[in-house]
Amino acid sequence: MTTRQLLSLAFRESRFARRRLFLFLSAISLGVAALVAVQGFASTMKREMSAQARAMLGADVQLQSRDPFGPRTTEVLESLARGGIDVARVTSFASMARHAENGATRLVQVRAAEPGFPFYGTIETSPAGQWASLQDDRNAVVEPALVVALGAEIGDVIEIGKARFRIIGELHRMPGDIEIASSFAPRVFIPARYVDETELLGYGARVTYEAFLRVPDPELAETIDEGYRPIWRAERVRSRTLQEQQEQIDEALGMLGRYLGLVGVFALLLGGIGVASAMSAYMSRKVDSIAVLRCLGATSREVLALYLLQAGAMGLLGALVGVLAGAVVQWVLPQMLTGLLPVDVPIRVDGPAALTGLVAGMATALAFALLPLLEIRTVSPLRALRRRVEPLIARGHDKLRLGMAIALVVGVVALIVYQAHDVFAGLGVSLGIGITLLALWLAARACTKLLRRAPHAGFPFMFRQSIANLYRPGNQTMTVVVALGFGAFLLATLVLTQANLLRPLTANSETRFNLVLLDVQVDQIEPVRDVLAMHDIEILDSVPLVSMRIAAVKGEPVRRFLEDELVLDGDGSLPEPTQDLEPDEGRPRRWALRREYRSTFRETLTESERLVAGRWWNERNATDGEAPFAVSLEQDIARDLGVTLGDRIDWDIQGVTVPTVVTSIRAVDWARLEPNFFAVFEPDALRDAPQMWVLLARAETAEARTAAQRDVVAQHPNVSVIDLTLVQAALDEVIGRVSLVIRFLAAFSVATGFVVLLGSVATGRLERIRESVLLKTLGATRRQIGAILLGEYALLGLLAVLVGAGLSLAASWALARFLFDVPFEAALGPMLAIAAVIVALSAAIGLSASREVFRTTPMEALREE
């Protein structure tokens, strides 16, 4: 047979079955669509962010510090400015903004900018062009969320601390902006020269100081950064150059790309399973044709080539459809993430992603189609003479198929390793998938066996018939349960994990505080309490905060640790703090030494902490108010500082050294919103230290919350009020959108599961029709036949849900316990909803795919003869 003949036969032979091949096509399309969408999305976003890196940074070099720049840094900046390099400083802090007329208030992020900021990128305002006028007077450009919150209009005056600013425009787009951040605290830009008028930068204020440098020559920027970095480091200033920014973006997005790539491979893998299922469905209808072809003298090789050609053509078509669908999804993804992305992601089909999708789609189609196709080699030409009632496939040990299966697994693992760009991670992911599939398979086996063994005698005939149908010869019950179960597993795990992550925020929302008052000075506590009482708001808790740094660990001054490194590093460059290595031999991590600590003092442990070592001071009174005082450390910070029980830490509080001894180590549940601390002191140690207080209160109504904020801020402009209901809403929004995207992708796996279900419906079609016709002949009504089918598919869906959701309980428990470290609780509501949807869909799909069964008249039982 010539290739041409083979091709045309392949085409002609598929004539009446192309509709059937549609299943095959859609399995591949789903996988390819997911792959193309996520990869295209990731690479487009990466390209876009790289292109906008300069605008996002707004400068060539950025300096940042939690303290005012030290004398040497200031000196450097001044000399650079004299040398013709543009410098703009920005001072940022959280504060309350108050509408000067209606008194409405809102927590805001104040950014006091010097002229010139930002050096790159355009800030869009409404009315347009107002950014240029910001510096002209006591002006403010604010985010739209603030205008809404205050009920303000352009031209209104707001008060920040003791200063007043006129709103001249709304901020619409700023490079590198993550829009949703404004729901936590909208930003207010004011001219830097008026910042002192607010009188908010005193002790205890959480202020970030930044300086932005414009250095036209990129090499010079690097030189400046490297040259002055030791000085900046010594004065606790972090610096970042455009190049570093770009590297960071590349790294972060590379990781995103790899992660999303894996999701894509995953989808394609599921598509492959769908292909295998659809192919065996197709083949089950082709057995007679094959037998006839064999009778007429076609070799098994030619027959194989014939159907492989059809599979290849469908694979190509499916991949093409998938690429198109992927482009559509790629367009939908950024819409789902509106407000969370720092750049606008343009809609465009990513060339490399599309090509990868095409090739991978074709390869998957052929590889997974080959497995069921190899079975047709065993079709005997005798079948053309004698049609048997039993299904054809004589299963046994076929070395070729075994080899093919192994090659397939190896190929999939190789693809995953390639996508992960890391052999170990790739193997780990492969192992994870393998274990999941194995667990699903085992669970599916156990469930189906159990169902079969269970005594059915008491059940109505129709139901027993439904169960019996699941074990029809040549059934695909296991395949469907595993494939659909996998979808259910992914979806349920996501939903459960999301619920576990969100629960700490919403738990006890009836009883817990919803207002947090920050920066309350000692002498303001009583007046604030009175204001709150006027609105029937009770203070539930008050927590003192003392800012401090570590002066010495185990008698060794911190400066020594840091200077050591300056000498050690030789070229004067220091690694980023985040790149700290594990502390060796109790050597403290740099970031733990360098950071500012906000600590508290109290008599008792709170609900969110428990002791893991040592004893709490109320159980003994060892220090008697004498130094060194007792301090309790959180377990991770104790490890990072390389200290344990009995070790000495000296703290520097506003120049005063307070010596302490570690007397206990605590585990802290950071997921709770209560103020938690790395270091808790016995009260005697800090009672007289300069301190700020945090008050926790609960207001029942939104009106009370708003009114209380307004009155507190009117009398005490330095006090900031966080309305937790707003924070919670914003968090819900963020997590909701992110999980929407993940669920969207998980939906692909569920969809593929249904393709497999359709495949199995198609495979068992002839047997099902034969049986139903027979039952009709014996007197079954259509309603009875329908009940049997409904039962069969609902059971199939139920099995899948049981298996998938059951395993998801284990998986989400493990995630909660080991990855997120949050308490686990099974969210039954969402689980039941998922279960109901999958069972209902499964029943609906099964029934609608079995329409023929209803239409076929009993006469065909005779015609079959």
């Binding site: 009632v389 039993e390 005939f461 019996a468 149908n469 074990y471 029809r472 010869p473 047997e767 034969r770 049986e771 027979l774 039952l775 009709k776 002949t777 014996l778 007197g779 079954a780 009504t781 259509r782 309603r783 009875q784 008249t857 009993p858 006469m859 039982a861 005779l862 015609r863 079959e864 003869e865």
Partner: protein, 224 residues
Amino acid sequence: MLIARGLEKTYRSGERTLTVLRDVDLEIDEGDFVAILGPSGSGKTTLLGLLAGLDTPSRGSVAIDGTDLAPLTEDERARFRRDNVGFVFQSFQLLPSLTALENVQVPLELRGDRNVSARAAALLERVGLSGRLDHYPTQLSGGEQQRVALARAFVHEPRILFADEPTGNLDAATGEGIIALMEELNRERGTTLVLVTHDPLLAGRARRTIRLADGKIVADSAAA
């Protein structure tokens, strides 16, 4: 028992109309044993289907025991069959996922009868399969499968039993056994038997033979 009047069955295929059966009049007495003979394409199976109410005639009517099948819906005809009609097929047509006993229970269970297993088991014993109640069809020989099918056809005590080449897939000796069984059951229970066959030997056992050719009755031993 069974009265067919002016039966006609045509199939439309595009422009052409194909008449498979034309103007068939037939009466079958209660307890009779009738064989329908004829070459391939003569309309035997179509006639059987119409008589049994599996299909509706293009013209004419069929009445069994005074019930006219024509105005009944498909489901009503199904309910009628479940009470009055039994079937035996050439290729046995057992449900592969059910055991022998379960297969025999099906007609009773479709009716919603209770305590059906004793009746089914008794009938399987009657056809000589008391030791194979829990076997699946694939575990049974062809002859055994057809005996299960016979038990299934008789279990709900139908007034009339239709068989389509019941020995077609069996060797001569086994087929003989099946025929003998059918005759015995016909005698014991007074069930009317109507069977379609190619086998002259089998036809010879019938009390009455009807010959079909080109969709028409060309010979009827009762008329002779």
